[in-house]
Symmetry: C2
Subunit: 189 residues, 2 copies
């Protein structure tokens, strides 16, 4: 019963680990407590409840994705940056499929930081798009379409929709991104 050095940060990062191990839908506070060497009720000294854990795991997932996206576009611009970011995005989702599922649940947690957290994924995309000849509104339109495609692709791939093996999935993805690059470059300039 000695005080374990528990705090919210350790709990959330362990939760993220457990989500990846057991699957997003099979996460439980019982297993989390077990992994932390503590009784389940003890967690409530540090967290409000399951909802808060879920919410914070989502924020953590978005944070990590953000870092990777930023790194992917360092010293790159335009088409090269876009291709690099989109590949990094899919790579993250494939390496952390269960944690990635937390990303889409982000805005569900109705706290105020969500605008900030949501922006973490859009921001590097918007940064790239600024180098193209789109006005601000078209930039938003285009970024929504691009994010939809990227997210939709990795989620459907993970869910098991793309089964026809006579068409290579990597190539499907590349062609999709190339399509977006074509559209993007067609905006006058």
């Amino acid at each position: 019963m000695a005080k374990k050095g528990l705090d919210s940060k350790i709990i959330i990062s362990t939760a993220a680990q457990l989500v990846e191990e057991k699957g997003y839908d099979h996460f439980s506070l019982n297993e989390l407590a077990l992994k932390l060497g503590v009784k389940t009720a003890s967690l409530y000294n540090h967290i409000e409840g399951l909802q808060e854990v879920n919410s914070k795991v989502s924020h953590l997932a978005v944070s990590r994705l953000h870092l990777i996206l930023e790194a992917s576009i360092a010293r790159k611009e335009r088409d090269e940056a876009l291709m690099s970011l989109t590949l990094a995005y899919r790579d993250f989702a494939k390496k952390n499929p269960e944690l990635y599922k937390a990303v889409i649940k982000l805005p569900t947690s109705e706290d105020d930081q969500l605008k900030e957290s949501g922006a973490q994924v859009v921001e590097p995309i918007i940064a790239i798009l600024r180098k193209y000849a789109l006005n601000e509104v078209d930039r938003i339109h285009f970024s929504r379409a691009l994010r939809s495609a990227i997210h939709g692709f990795v989620e459907m791939e993970e869910a098991g929709f793309f089964r026809r093996h006579d068409a290579n999935i990597d190539i499907s993805y590349e062609k999709m991104i190339e399509g977006y690059i074509v559209i993007l470059n067609s905006y006058n300039n």
Copy 2:
């Protein structure tokens, strides 16, 4: 304790209704039984368990979506058919947001009909694409990109990602589809 006229079909359609009412994540067999005027354990005379219910609700959702997509392209071709189908798709997702969530869980249910059921959504899209000058492999590549975009868009919209009100969401969607139509028409012909 008189025999209620329960069968699998009634159970699943009631489950689908309950999913829409309470939200996909808050569905329970207890509430389902309550709504059917039966004790929870009695459901097991007709269903294997929760997993089967979830799986069959997914199949039902896909079936309904399929019907709507087919109807949307009746007597239409090419660009007009594509625009009509994509609008119908989003419309379905907006009118049945919780039930739509069951669609993405389809392939998780590992039964053999999944190829058939999954095909229900692709099929009308492929039918449209046959009228364009793509070879079979490119048709698959393109359909994956299009489905990713459509699904990704409606899911992110429902999840609350598209918040900037200075860009109209309907227009974002239209522009996205128009982009795909441009790409599609650029395949020689």
